[in-house]
Symmetry: D2
Subunit: 367 residues, 4 copies
């Protein structure tokens, strides 16, 4: 949830909670499938638990911001995989099957779909959990029922026809949670500021400016880490990095002599953020340029530096992706139809088209 607690103060749940929750749902799913006669061996069961417990372990602190600043070209899935492989070595191959399932290389595809698909245990847990902790009650989904409706046909996960309204509701909740929570405009500003804090810090360190930071954070500020040089010693350091490193750094940097770094950091720490406008149309380039000039003048910084405070971008939300691990509905005992075709009225096609919005951030006007 990154910095969402700045908007929804209740949202203080952790990734550990989420991992336990996914595990819990996986246990239910396995019980349901067993009950329906789908054989799952004890080895496969254990592998599913391992894979779901570890599926998010590669997320760094404020993950999405990190992916745009510090470990730029490395996805969290690939880091999760590195962790699993490290553990597999430590535990003499005990994670081999879990890794195969996680990577989708195991022959029974529905096991992979329980870990990663448009109706996986991950989504079933986080939508419900985030809805609960934010208090956005409309985002609540019926994971219990969705799991009870699961079945397996030709090694593919499907949903029994009478669960169709729950699937619709699930997709709608996903869309609602995106706009109302994950892409909430205040979180959006905060996340963009955090990306820029880290970018500025890297820039300063490249210029040999001394910056207070934990050892682990310092390492990632000083080195350009990519998928290529993400060695096991990098992984070790990465594992030490958490929210404390980032927030503590921003607290110290709020008093930095670099006006850009100190202002950006203080904005997050004091929750005194930039103004943000959202529109269905792109913003006028001239307006943005004007604001940059004004900001540069006001803060006595270069126009290039002013772009840390005045910037624009896009956000997109697509509740359902056709042709990508579809959600399939099962009729009678073997007829399978994609949810978009199966629904009788509600225009799910709309949900499968991405919606793009434009935003522009700039300092609050003080006269």
């Amino acid at each position: 949830m990154g910095l969402s607690y700045l908007v929804y103060p209740g949202a203080h749940h952790t990734r550990f909670h989420h991992a336990l929750g996914c595990m819990h749902l996986m246990q239910k799913a396995i019980r349901v499938l067993h009950f329906k006669g789908i054989g799952i061996t004890p080895e496969e069961e254990e592998a599913l638990y391992i894979a779901i417990l570890l599926h998010d372990i590669g997320h760094g602190p404020f993950s999405h911001a990190m992916e745009h600043s510090i470990v730029e070209s490395v996805s969290h899935e690939s880091i999760s995989l590195l962790f699993m492989e490290k553990m597999n070595a430590d535990f003499d191959g005990a994670l081999t099957l879990a890794i195969q399932i996680f990577k989708g290389e195991y022959h029974r595809n529905f096991l992979h779909q329980l870990i990663s698909s448009q109706l996986d245990m991950d989504r079933l847990d986080y939508l419900k959990r985030d809805s609960f902790y934010t208090g956005v009650a409309e985002g609540n989904i019926n994971s219990e029922r969705l799991i009870t409706m699961l079945a397996v046909i030709n090694d593919e996960l499907v949903v029994e026809a009478k669960g169709i309204y729950s699937v619709e509701k699930f997709l709608l909740s996903r869309r609602l949670m995106y706009w109302q929570v994950y892409l909430h405009k205040t979180s959006l500003v905060a996340e963009n500021l955090l990306i820029r804090v880290l970018k500025r810090a890297k820039e300063l360190i490249d210029k040999s400016v001394a910056l207070s930071a934990s050892e682990a954070l310092s390492f990632f500020l000083q080195h350009k880490i990519t998928g290529q040089n993400f060695s096991s010693s990098v992984l070790e350091i990465f594992s030490k990095l958490d929210d404390y490193d980032i927030v503590m750094a921003m607290k110290e940097w709020s008093a930095s002599s670099d006006v850009v770094l100190s202002k950006l950091s203080a904005m997050i720490i004091n929750r005194d953020l930039l103004k943000i406008e959202i529109s269905t149309q792109p913003f006028d380039v001239t307006t943005e340029k004007d604001k940059i000039k004004k900001c540069a003048l006001l803060l006595d910084i270069s126009e290039q530096e002013a772009q840390y405070f005045v910037f624009s971008g896009t956000i997109a939300n697509q509740a359902y992706h056709q042709n990508k691990q579809n959600i399939n509905i099962l009729y009678e005992s073997d007829k399978i139809v994609d949810i978009v075709q199966a629904t009788d009225q509600f225009n799910l096609e709309a949900l499968s088209k991405p919606v793009t919005k434009y935003f522009m951030c700039y300092p609050k006007h003080k006269d």
Copy 2:
């Protein structure tokens, strides 16, 4: 909820709970509007509480079934009004303002809309309550937030723009609850059986067959009551009629010597209902006729009587009605847009078109 507890055993909540719940939401709504500077006098406030507490008092037992059998041409709203007028006489005019608001004759229209519109306290309570007691978690709505978003413009109730996702979610939940709960196929059979039980009982009584029934129920079985002859003494008797009269009668009628009445009654009491098929297309008339013949033969009754066990019909669901107490969204401080136009992606237009389905009921085949 009528006979929904045959499908959702938790659904044992009562109309009294609903009345208290509506009252509770009304208190919240008034507090919110006060806070936004909408003046509501203490007299208007009291009238709103009276009107919302009594809005459903005209519902008889298993109301919807009754309206199709016993008090055929009289709506529950008009009976609620009769009760209010009776009380108004008893309490020396203390309900006059409540009645005006209930009837929509008071000059401040938003007060009426709090009682009766597409976003009234009635709907906000029953959707949430029914979702809770049935366990159909997806039907949950965020009444708290919807109420907080209410405002009044030109004496009309509107919803502030940032509540738009909650409104969408509310309409979706409404649709989902209709298909999943209110029009659930098993409830549908049960309700249709109940209508036929009462119809058959009237028929037998017309033929002077003696039937065990409470005094109140006997009265309505013996007389044809319409809006015209619904006198205050009829109202008095009507007020004594509740679920106990109906269920007790069916329990006794299960042992009736009339095979039609006893079988229909026993089907409900023993929850051993007719089979039902649902389709998006009308059913073939020949099939129905065949089933009627077969049933007549099997039970040794006339083909006309067999139509108590073999019948077809339609159900329709329309989540949103345009041009009928619209839900209006407020932009900035005065721009008002209907929800269907206001939504950015999700095809609410679809929701405002009625969906019709066809059903056919007939005895379970026993070979």
Copy 3:
């Protein structure tokens, strides 16, 4: 919960809900014991489910009132047993083991304790459920944790030492629920009135007064049923008797020509009950006699009949019974101590002494 809904309007849950809840807890308990290495065979497991689902089936409508009026000398446990034996005959002996466990005749005593003891699944369900539906939040217990703490030593159910605070809390909740809910003074009046309604009806029928009642209820009013003559045909009729029979009768009897019966019935139906006083001391006999005289005069009935409206009695509550299926606490791996000795401070001994209170009911004074 009998007539508790007259005090707690939310308390509309049913015995069916309770049976399902007990079953659910039993599944958890079995899973926990399995996990701790206590072998339970599939046959024993099935028997436990049957026994817990049926343990309360012998309760008639408003059970406690019935036991004092209609089926006077027959406990609901013995009727449950009759039902089980009937089903056992129908199902070719499939309930034999369930019956043995239910009666405590099976050699593994802990199985019986799961069904019936001071920490059985029955209590764990009803305390939590009644606390939830009445809204008496303090009565809430942690069934989940209590079950997780269960263990078996020498075929006896025990609670691991670290669950001790949960047991204390469970006993306290039990006491609180008794005073606050089960023995709530308004429920107490209502229940005593119901007993007297049925007693009066029997009296009138003995005098050949015609009374409207369902067939099943009529049977029990006309016959004196004891443990001796509770034949299978009686059981058949008993199975048809439910709340509807009783409430419908009282609705009709409210208009009875017998003033005692009509007044008693109307008091319950219209929730216009007798006044009740509670005291830690017995009431003065003279006061009671005076009130009886006054009542007889006022209603123009005999003094004997007036005792239907003026009466006194006692209520007792004992949260914990020593020497009767004790709750035992397990220290280390084999030391077992009764909860009363095990607790370190809180005076549980007090809880194991019965508390008796006195009550007197009489008509409300109207000047």
Copy 4:
């Protein structure tokens, strides 16, 4: 809750949540008292909100540990007061009344009791909240009902007699939460380790060892702050100190060259704590001395240093304090009785006696 999340992973709620919760309960309490005719002026109301929102603001990070290490002789209440006085200066005296009420210097004593007494809004919120977030369901209290039962007699807060079971339950929950959560043995070890981490850090800094720490934390490690020298500039620095400073420091110190500091820090960070024994008797001094010697030998440190890892102490819990802002029960309209005398059975006197337990911590034995 300090380090309780090491035991109860769900316990991630914050002091901000608690402040909002208290505010919410205060609004309810004021509404109830208004309804009962207790006049509270708008100024008093506002002052109550200010005082309850700020009552805990003086808590530092891991407050209880801090009070034993860094700001040794200064209570959090006195720091809360310093913050309020600072704000009062900034806001031109707007907090004067709030401060008077907070200090108990205002003539209407019940207002102070709402802020601070044995049944204040603080306790009503934190017991319920901590019970919820830890999942220790037995600790749940019925704040709603307790508040509804509040009344004021002679400017003193009292509880109406019919709320007596809820008060009993509240005291029991308090006791249960103390043993089960606040004094849970694992939290106890963790808290004692944290105290020693900070103590060791101060010791090292006194010896001029360089230690990585945030500016704010460094200040408190370098200076001995007491109630005497807690100036407004100290307050300013104190306000910058939060959990991030402490946890980040421990993360860095885990790699310190000082073996005592690094081991203590790592124990908390890696949740690999000391072993703890709890007893109702004091521990034998010889055993402790032996363990100290063994530890010194094993870690190659002095015996004095070994006392960082081997130590003993006491914990005490007293659920109710007689003669200190008693909880008084109101009978009829003016008879007031202390809860301990008022209760009819349950030995509350036991609850008003402190219970003391002894603990000893030492390194886990590794053979």
